[in-house]
């Protein structure tokens, strides 16, 4: 199978790097467990194939073994939980004083991104996806609201999504690393939201902090801005 996956960008926030670390750990444990069961299955299938018509041993319990295979999975899942616990806390923390606040408004079936400190608003059009522009190497908080039904703000390079439930403003923050670049199709509405849910996407453009400040200063504040889509 030669199909590549250009679709998944690398993790660009500290939280995403942490989440990918947990993912790798879990993935290898999952491979290990699947391999263990596969080996045991192949063993019983090959070794205990019926060779004679005699009745095999009828022992139907083995308390030490049963205790062992209860305790070991217990230790494994509690260990895995503990290993991901600090990451869960770190990802779930919301920054009170970030470098930048972005207001995200979700509605059927588009996004609008506003920078409240400067009054700039970014929107899409009927035919183009909106582009979320963010500064590299900075802390960003997203304050999100929905105008109609439940949406979910998912940025694949963040390895994170948060549902946007009408009537319940939601926030989360990320520490973006040195990751300037353009991430087409990185933004997705992940909660099914009706007819054109599949088209409710956006792109991400990360600029160096100085470039970002310059870009923000150039934008008009009286009407929503349509940003040129970054070329893939």
């Amino acid at each position: 199978m030669t199909a590549r996956f250009p679709a998944l960008p690398p993790p660009i926030t500290e939280q995403a790097v942490d989440a990918d670390g947990v993912w790798s750990l879990y993935l290898w444990i999952a491979y290990g467990v699947a391999a263990l069961v596969a080996i045991l299955m192949v063993w019983v299938i090959v070794r205990y194939r019926r060779r004679t018509d005699d009745l095999p041993p009828q022992k139907h319990y083995n308390i030490p073994v049963e205790v062992l295979y209860t305790i070991l999975p217990l230790l494994a899942v509690v260990g895995l939980f503990a290993a991901s616990f600090s990451t869960i806390r770190a990802i779930d923390r919301t920054e009170e004083a970030p470098d930048l606040v972005v207001d995200v408004v979700a509605f059927q079936w588009q996004w609008e991104f506003a920078y409240p400190a400067s009054g700039v608003r970014v929107a899409g059009t009927d035919t183009t996806e909106p582009v979320l522009v963010l500064p590299a190497s900075s802390t960003v908080r997203f304050d999100m609201t929905s105008r109609d039904v439940i949406h979910s703000f998912w940025l694949t390079p963040f390895r994170f999504k948060r549902d946007i439930i009408p009537g319940r403003p939601a926030s989360f923050s990320v520490n973006i690393g040195d990751a300037a670049g353009s991430y087409p199709n990185a933004g997705v509405c992940a909660e099914f939201c009706g007819l054109d849910h599949a088209l409710m996407r956006f792109s991400l453009l990360v600029l160096e902090p100085a470039e970002f400040a310059a870009w923000l200063a150039e934008q008009p504040t009286d009407s929503p801005v349509v940003v040129e889509e970054p070329s893939p």
Binding site: I45, P56, I150, R162
Partner: protein, 614 residues
């Protein structure tokens, strides 16, 4: 294995000393099986076997409908862009696909098993409430039809996914009649399920034959019993939530309307408080199925019977405290608590896997079709189980929830396991239900096509989800990897669908052949094999003594030392004169005409070498 001298043998054993069940059965035709032969007969039957067959056939029809809808989904996703259906139709198609598969196929198939097998496995003539049972079935059928009516209603079928999150499922979000039909349909089938659960609990509690203690019940009956309690816990919550939703839509209430002070999150809590136990309501009967099959084709007792029952109880209990892992991304739930409980449910589940392997360990395995499908179940279940543990960690779940990774995960645990175990059950009990065998050769072809098709369709979905494809989309950007993987999945689906062809051929051929399977073609363990195939009216003309969870096995191997709960022929002879349950054996092992006499003498059960009873 030592064999007793031929002169001491009991019953009418073959060369190896094995007792055949068929010789105990009445052959006078007086008790022959009678399924309804007319339409009115089917409409009015209260026989658990007829209703069990009706349940299973109906659920298979819904499986075909759900599968056809899946075909529309895979056809649409084979290429980027909209080629086959409109976005609106697509949304209806995946909603009804999920709803049909969960509410109208997987759960009712389990109820069909409960209908047909629970009375047989516990030695009862029928379920406790036969007319209630018939009522449940007709509610289910009508409920299912109501859901499908959505496709011909104004505005099309409900298009909000099988968990119907408001406000999208509210009056403004989904104005059409299809949504109301969907709600009414789930209410009807939910009520049907609740009534069946009551019936199963009453039957298992009150109608076990003497000697059938709780810890001698077959694991399938145990699992259906525990499932019934979970149904009683979960379904009424869903029914309540659905009534609230319908009131929001039609009567102007605002339970889930955030614009008027309602809460959209409340629905999610109520739904998933039903929804996660529902996953186990679907799965537990099928866990029971394979636990019946592994011992038979390994010639071993269930390994760790009590541990297995305790694991099932633990799953049932834990499943009520994990629901919010479906809501990690809402930011409205306590992450560590639900992450831990969700991860913990892997422990009893893992115990089951090791019990199944322990059952086969040091056994004498053969691989007839039921065993093949049971092993297929095991592989699929482990594949879905490990991704379940991954999704239990919010750090991973934040990225993967609502993507194709989740689609892959639950199609492994709720799709593949159900399909494999369902076919294991069909191949295993087909001779009991029809008196005929299914073809082994076609069964092998069927198994491998299903195995290849299933994994080809759903394994790539893990990669799709991890790499950014959200679920429930009619369209996706044309990116190389995403497009290629979707094409693999669509081709896999064609193989998966084609795997039903050898099965259908096998069914038709089998039904046209004479009924010669006999009572016990697999040399199986539990009581349903102690009656004719198909079972006679009111099931039994005779019952073997029940001294372990394998009464039929015990009788078959009675002439072998160290086998069977009553291994000792002296014990057998001592017993026969004063235990009414043994009376039917008299023509074979005792002097006819003996009057049973009261006696306080009992056999020490703890001395039994295979019985798990204490």
């Amino acid at each position: 294995m030592t064999t007793v001298e031929r002169s001491e043998r009991l019953g009418d054993p073959d060369d190896r000393g094995l007792v055949s069940i068929d010789q105990f059965l009445a052959t006078d035709g007086e008790h022959e099986a009678r399924l309804p032969r007319t339409l009115v007969g089917w409409l009015t039957t209260t026989d658990h076997k007829a209703l069990g067959i009706a349940y299973i056939l109906t659920s298979m029809v819904f499986l075909a409908i759900g599968g056809a809808l899946a075909g529309v989904i895979r056809a649409e996703l084979a290429e980027p862009g909209l080629q086959v259906v409109s976005a609106q139709t697509y949304n209806g198609v995946f909603t009804i696909h999920g709803s049909v598969m969960v509410y109208l196929f997987a759960v009712p198939f389990g109820f069909g098993l409960a209908n047909y097998l629970v009375p047989l496995q516990i030695g009862a003539p029928d379920l406790a409430f036969p007319r209630l049972n018939a009522f449940s079935y007709w509610l289910y059928l009508i409920g299912g039809a109501v859901m499908l009516l959505g496709f011909v209603s104004d505005g099309g079928a409900a298009g909000f996914g099988w968990f119907a999150y408001p406000p999208l499922s509210g009056a403004a979000g989904s104005p059409g009649l299809g949504a109301d039909l969907w709600i009414v349909s789930i209410l009807l089938t939910g009520t049907s399920g609740t009534l069946t659960a009551v019936n199963v609990i009453a039957t298992v509690t009150m109608m076990r034959t003497p000697g059938m203690t709780l810890f001698r019940m077959p694991i399938l009956t145990w699992n259906l019993f525990i499932t019934a309690f979970m149904v009683l816990l979960a379904f009424p919550v869903l029914s309540g939530a659905l009534l609230m939703l319908e009131a929001d839509r039609q009567f102007g209430t605002h339970f889930f309307d955030p614009g008027a002070g309602g809460s959209a999150v409340l629905w999610q809590h109520l739904f998933w408080f039903f929804g996660h136990p529902e996953v186990y309501i679907v799965a537990l009967p099928f866990f029971g199925v394979v636990t019946e099959i592994f011992p038979v084709f390994s010639r071993r007792p269930v390994f760790g019977y009590k541990g297995l029952v305790l694991a099932t109880l633990a799953i049932g209990a834990l499943s009520t405290s994990v629901w919010a892992h479906h809501m990690f991304a809402t930011g409205e739930v306590v992450l560590p608590f639900f992450a831990l409980t969700s991860a913990l449910i892997a422990v009893p589940t893992g115990v089951k896997v090791f019990n199944w392997i322990g059952t086969m360990w040091s056994g004498s395995l053969t691989f007839e079709a039921p065993m093949k499908f049971a092993l297929g179940f095991l592989i699929t279940f482990v594949g879905g189980g490990v991704t379940g543990v991954m999704l239990a960690s919010p750090a991973i779940d934040f990225h993967l929830t609502d993507t194709y990774f989740v689609v892959a995960h639950f199609h492994y645990v709720m799709g593949g396991t159900v399909i494999f175990a369902m076919f294991a059950a069909i191949y295993f009990w087909w001779p009991k239900v029809t008196g005929r065998m299914l073809s082994e050769r076609l069964g092998t072809i069927h198994f491998w096509m299903l195995m290849v098709g299933f994994n080809m369709t759903f394994f790539v979905m893990h990669l799709l989800g991890r790499n950014g494809m959200p679920r429930r989309v009619a369209d996706y950007p044309s990116v190389d990897g995403i497009e290629g993987m979707n094409q693999i999945a669509s081709v896999g689906f064609v193989i998966l669908a084609a795997s039903f062809i050898p099965f259908m051929i096998s069914v038709v051929r089998s039904l046209r052949s004479p009924a010669t399977a006999g009572a016990d073609p697999w040399r199986a363990n539990s009581l349903e094999w102690a009656t004719s195939s198909p079972p006679s009216a009111h099931n039994f003309t005779w019952l073997p003594p029940i001294r372990s969870e394998r009464p039929v096995f015990d009788l078959r191997w009675i002439n072998h030392d160290g086998v069977g709960a009553l291994s000792d022929s002296e014990a057998w002879r001592a017993r026969q004169d004063h235990d009414e349950q043994w009376l039917p054996l008299h023509p074979f092992v005792g002097e006819q005409g003996d009057e049973p006499v009261e006696s306080t003498e009992t056999i020490d059960e703890s001395g039994s070498p295979t019985g798990p009873a204490s």
